[in-house]
Symmetry: C2
Subunit: 122 residues, 2 copies
Amino acid sequence: MPLDQLSTTLAALADPTRRAILARLLMGECSVTALAEPFDMSMPAVSKHLRVLERAGLISRRRDAQFRHCRIEGAPLKDVATWAERYRHVWESRLDRLDTYLEQITPKNEKRHGRQSHRKSR
Amino acid sequence: MPLDQLSTTLAALADPTRRAILARLLMGECSVTALAEPFDMSMPAVSKHLRVLERAGLISRRRDAQFRHCRIEGAPLKDVATWAERYRHVWESRLDRLDTYLEQITPKNEKRHGRQSHRKSR
DNA sequence: CGCATATAAACCCAAGTAGTTAATTAACTA
DNA sequence: TAGTTAATTAACTACTTGGGTTTATATGCG
C-alpha cells in the first residue's frame, strides 16, 4: 500500500522493463512506439509501464502531433539517491558487527538494543 | 516478475514499513519483537516483511536463544545508490540538453500539456 | 515435564500488477 | 471524407502482495 511518494517511486523502479525505459530516456525524448521497440511486449503493456512511471513522477509526456513524447524527470531519482545515502556507512564500513558502531554513539550501554529486559545468557 | 537482484531490492524497499525497519536497524541489531513494537501490525505480518528484506539480502538473521536478531546488510543498498547515480545529471543539470533538443523539434509556440514547466531562461 | 515466550509456517482474503486482444480516440494525409 | 498511424482504454486472466488469524516449532525456566 505505498501511499507515500518514495514508495511509489521505488515500486515503479522495481521492474527491469521500466528501468530500461528510463535508461533509454537518458538519451533524450522518445515516442511510445520507439520506446516499445526493444521489448517483446505489446504496446498496451508498454503504455501501462509508462503510466506507472508517470504516476511516480519519473517521466512526463507531451503530445506532438500523433506522437506522445516521453521525457525523464529527475526529482524522484534524486529522492532515491538521497534516501540511500543515509545508509552509506553501512556498506562502507568493514564492521562485522554493527554493535561496534552502536557503541560509538552510545558508549555506556552494554545491553542489546531491543527494549525487552531479557538478558543474554551466553 | 523481478528476477534480478536490483528489482528484488527495489521491490523490498518500496514499502514504508520495511524502510522503517531498516532505519531502526541502523541503530544496531534488534530482535523481531522489538522491531515489531512501533507498528500497528501483527507479529506474523512483521515476520513476513523481514522475510522479504532477507530474501533481498537487505538483512541477515542469527539465532540467539529464542530470539532472532536482525542485522542490516549494506551491499544491496550500495547497488541502489550506484544505480541512481547514473541519473545524477538528470536532476542536477536541470535538463538543459533536453530543452535544447525539445526546441529543435518544436518551435517555441508549443504548449505544455501536463506538469510544471521546466522551461527557464538561462 | 509442563508452561511461557519468540518466531515461523500455513492458510484465507482483498487489492494490486502484468500481460493479453479488441475497441477507441486523436491526429495526420490523400 | 475516408484511411492510416499512434497511443490509450476496456475487458479479461493469472499471479503476487500485504494484511489477518491460527497453528506449529524451538528455546528457556521452574
